[in-house]
């Protein structure tokens, strides 16, 4: 059995940051493994621990810098990694369809039994790559799952899709399929020291869009980026913690919001 996990590196801005042109200046950004993908990696590694002969392969569309993030996934139990990149991809906002085409090229090469993908990335948050990939690669899919039960003999999986308002949809999905993984589905592990050491030795292959036969042309472009104007007028309590706490308590009592 082979599981493909899509892994993306996300940029997290500092509390205070500055925007230059259409992007946040790099010195205010910290790069890390996308939170949703951390759960996707864990889900794949758990399946590989439950069944014999399971290979977990990760795929990332990202620049060389992203290899640090990819090594995190390898340290947590991914067996080998593929990174897809070309400098042409670095220019503009990559639309989910293009990302999906690139990933579909890897699916075609690897022929996984199923794919785990995070529901969304923490920075761009399109929330679309997994389902677009399924359609592009001709796989079945289920979006936003918080429970996954594999039935290898039946060639299917039973999942719970997390809908709005605390409602879950119970669905059976025929394999091969893409599952987009919601946070909370499991408890992602921390990489062990041994895992981190071993990750350095695991294969990490780089492929270009040309290798995959994909012609890259993003249909989207980010024309402006700004900090949204806050429509609100917050009244701030100021001073030391003791002072602000006293002010807030007095306010709540005054408003008769709290009887204590």
């Amino acid at each position: 059995m082979k599981i493909l996990v899509t892994v993306t590196e996300v940029a997290e801005p500092d509390d205070e940051f500055e925007i230059q042109g259409q992007s946040i200046e790099d010195r205010y950004l910290t790069y890390d493994l996308n939170e949703w993908d951390d759960y996707a990696v864990e889900e794949a590694v758990q399946v590989s621990e439950e069944y014999d002969d399971v290979e977990v392969v990760s795929v990332t569309v990202g620049p060389e810098r992203a290899e640090e993030t990819v090594r995190q996934a390898l340290a947590k139990g991914v067996d080998r990694a593929i990174r897809v990149w070309d400098d042409d991809l670095g220019g503009d906002l990559l639309d989910p369809g293009t990302t999906a085409e690139l990933l579909a090229g890897v699916v075609e090469e690897e022929e996984p039994d199923f794919v785990f993908s995070g529901v969304q990335s923490g920075d761009m948050a399109f929330g679309a790559t997994g389902v677009a990939l399924a359609e592009a690669a001709g796989l079945e899919w289920a979006a936003v799952i918080n429970d996954f039960e594999l039935d290898p003999d039946a060639g299917s999986a039973s999942v719970r899709r997390e809908l709005e308002g605390g409602v879950e949809e119970l669905t059976d999905v025929a394999l091969p399929a893409v599952f987009t993984i919601q946070t909370g589905i499991n408890e992602p592990r921390y990489a062990s020291l041994r895992g981190i050491r071993r990750a350095q030795q695991k294969p990490l292959d780089v492929e270009t869009p040309t290798d995959l036969g994909v012609n890259v042309e993003s249909t989207l472009s980010l024309s402006s980026l700004e900090v949204p104007e806050t429509g609100s007028d917050v009244t701030y309590f100021e001073g030391s913690a003791d002072e602000t706490a006293a002010e807030l308590a007095a306010f709540l009592r005054e408003q008769k919001r709290v009887e204590a």
Binding site: D15, E135, A142, S224
Partner: protein
């Protein structure tokens, strides 16, 4: 003149509110014909309810009771072939994101999700958030045709009856191609505490850092006679049960007072608590989106403020 195809959403016999909002967003996207697809469930009743605003034609596809993405993709491919829309507009809901990317891929249209604004003067430009709501950007779409998913609650429901033409669309659904079977629904995490009934909620988020720190917030809630709730990461980590979760996937709450402690205010959280009468935020990050909707704020370390506040009510 751009024609637009909007898509309604329903669950367990009821239309979801966003079904009306796609009509308003759809009218903004194009001055041509506005079509609406209603797929599955009680399509005739839904069509009557959605005969509002500027909708010209409502296509009903009577196929199944509940959402199935395979049915939606096939039906939308066929409706789109019939009406040839420039734009398709769908909810940016869990189900919307279960079919819209596939429809875009299948119809070879560009896709922009989670729109909070659209502008069609000189090609399509979509306004959406980036970096967890810390920034907002404008996305230019080069393709002539696009699928746009809209954030729920950003557009108003259209006013006034439309008098649309309601047509049964005879979709040819290939049942053998459906790879998923929906077996039912379950309400998640119904415990003994109902946070939707609370007058005062003390809500804790990621800023609490560790499970061992949760009692700090519990003590404050106890001292104030308030009910404890939380944002999603706390429940994901298993630090509090699911029935305490406020937000899109948790509970929608409308207390008199909502005190958000160490909660950044991601849109999914805000969707669940913006109806609170008075919102108070305690957060170290002055740029946290929670301050955009808070009435009162303290920009400080919760580990300093919360014990001091508990002391005030002791």
């Amino acid at each position: 003149m751009s024609d637009v195809l909007a898509v309604a959403e329903h669950r367990r016999g009821e239309l979801r509110e966003v079904s009306h909002e796609v009509l308003t967003a759809g009218a903004e996207l194009g001055a041509g014909e506005l079509h609406l697809a209603v797929i599955g469930g009680d399509v005739e009743r839904f069509a009557d309810e959605l005969d509002r605003g500027a909708v010209d034609t409502i296509h009903t596809v009577a196929e199944g009771e509940e959402f199935n993405h395979g049915v939606y993709v096939q039906a939308l491919e066929q409706v789109a072939e019939a009406v040839d829309p420039t734009y398709v507009v769908t909810p940016n809901s869990v189900n919307g994101l279960d079919y819209a990317p596939a429809v875009a891929e299948s119809l070879d249209m560009s896709l922009v999700t989670d729109a909070v604004g659209v502008d069609t003067g000189g090609g399509l430009t979509v306004t959406r958030e980036f970096y967890g709501g810390k920034t907002e950007g404008e996305v230019d779409v080069f393709d002539d045709r696009a699928v746009v998913t809209i954030r729920e609650g950003e557009w108003d429901a259209p006013a006034g009856a439309a008098g649309a033409s309601i047509q049964a669309f005879d979709a040819d659904i290939d049942e053998t191609a459906l790879g998923t079977t929906v077996n039912g629904f379950e309400e998640a995490g119904s415990g003994d505490v109902d946070i939707t009934e609370a007058d005062v909620l003390v809500s804790v988020g990621r800023g609490i850092d560790e499970e061992d720190n949760i009692p700090l917030i519990e003590e404050l809630a106890d001292a104030m006679g308030a009910t404890l709730s939380s944002s999603r990461p706390i429940v994901d980590n298993g630090w509090l049960p699911q029935d305490r979760q406020v937000g899109q996937s948790g509970k929608k709450v409308t207390p008199d007072v909502y005190i958000a402690i160490g909660i950044s205010g991601a849109v999914q959280h805000v969707a669940g608590m913006k109806g609170a009468d008075t919102i108070i935020a305690i957060n170290t990050d002055p740029g946290a989106p929670i301050f955009d909707i808070a009435d009162y704020g303290i920009v400080d370390d919760l580990f300093d403020v919360v014990p001091a506040l508990t002391e005030q009510f002791a």
